[in-house]
Amino acid sequence: MLTKRIIPCLDIKNGGTVKGVNFVDLRDAGDPVELASIYAKEGADELVFLDISATEEKRKTLAELVYHVAETINIPFTVGGGISSVEDVDVLLKNGADKVSINSSAVKRPELINELVAKFGSQCIVVAIDAKQIDGQWRVHLVGGKVPTELDLFEWAKEVEERGAGEILFTSMDHDGTKNGFANKALAELSDLVNIPVIASGGAGDISHFTDTFKDGKADAALAASVFHFKEIEINTLKQELKEEGIPVRI
């Protein structure tokens, strides 16, 4: 049976790990390669590296980091953050990334999804969607959730699927950093709407939130950052408890 995935997310700035609370106010949380191998040993199913730096050196630094991560760990990982071209993706995959996630660049130019899928295949193209409820409507946001668009979350998700993306990573800006649980209602709706895996992100605070997002939110995977970085939740404890709740996990 296919298991539900637990995915620690490492926010990367200038080659180091940071964690955003509501995407602002950053705190240092360690060396990414070391953190990655600790998570792999603790039972993480996958990792996501999100590069939030915006310097000229960025591309080279990120490619080097990807190379070292791939050299060290034996579980899959996704790289995201500022990826906007076929060339960007090519470099990351060649250095050992398994998947890339694109976000703002796909909203700005949706054909990018088709181009990436045609060249690299659906299996390695994750589209990340940041959304927030405005007057009862889930609206897609850009630039780490700062800039609202007119796009509706569900319409965009459907389009992303039709353009060939292999997976959707949905972050609720209303839940991110709150530690009050994932956006399960929207997640369930999303999961029923599309026929590709949906990764839940934003709001993890305790173990019950993961149980809820798999049961009520129908998520295929759940992503979290600070609860893992600051050891508020241990991955093996989390998976053991999920198993007791009848959720299929890899232990």
Binding site: Y67, A70, N74, I75, P76, D98, Q123
Partner: protein
């Protein structure tokens, strides 16, 4: 030991190179027929779309070389699928090593299957010391049904071939290079053949 990874411009090779390196060996990327024929072990990777990958194999003549190799050959993911008779993905013929036609998962399940699933019914030396129901990592939309060459099965929508073997040819649908310690052990078993 000379380990060759067949280079035909397909997919993410770096992870396989690193996985071999972690086992203490070095793999070399090559599309040279002589070099491939002289290797002790050959790995046939593949990520991407079946018909375009098959077109690349034909363009380089590797489609004629691979089925005639005598040493242990391991096809991974799309590599395994291309070793089958045909694939529904882009309606292409395959290398015809395994007598199976690769087809797409139905819409009863999310496609692609992404994540960790279990392998069972393990046969062949490839799975020496590998416990039944071990977890392996997969990413795929198409699958090979069960056939006489099936040496491991997994379940998603239905029971399908997670691994195949015919003589010196082995194929795995999952990614051993990404399947944690179990995957490393399976790669080690292949290198031990």
């Amino acid at each position: 030991m000379k380990i060759i990874i067949i280079d035909y411009g397909a997919g993410n090779i770096q992870s396989i190179m690193f996985a071999i390196k972690r086992l203490g060996f070095e793999a070399v990327l090559s599309h040279d027929t002589e070099e491939i024929r002289n290797a002790d072990k050959v790995i046939f990777p593949g990520v991407g779309e079946a018909s375009s990958a098959m077109a690349k194999l034909k363009a380089t003549g590797l489609d004629k070389v691979i089925p005639t190799l005598m040493q242990p050959v391991l096809g991974i993911c799309l590599g395994m699928q291309l070793m089958c008779h045909s694939s529904e993905e882009g309606n292409t013929d395959g290398l015809g090593i395994f007598d199976l036609d690769v087809i797409k998962f139905s819409n009863n399940v999310k496609v692609p299957q992404i994540g960790w699933n279990q392998i069972t019914g393990l046969k062949s030396e490839l799975f020496t010391q590998i416990p039944d129901k071990s977890y392996i990592y997969l990413v795929h939309s198409f699958y090979a049904p069960i056939g006489k060459e099936t040496i491991a099965t997994s379940e998603y929508d239905l029971e399908y071939s997670a691994a195949l073997q015919k003589d010196n040819f082995y194929g795995v649908q999952f990614h051993p290079e990404k399947s944690s310690d179990v995957g490393s052990d399976i790669l080690q078993n292949f290198l031990n053949l």
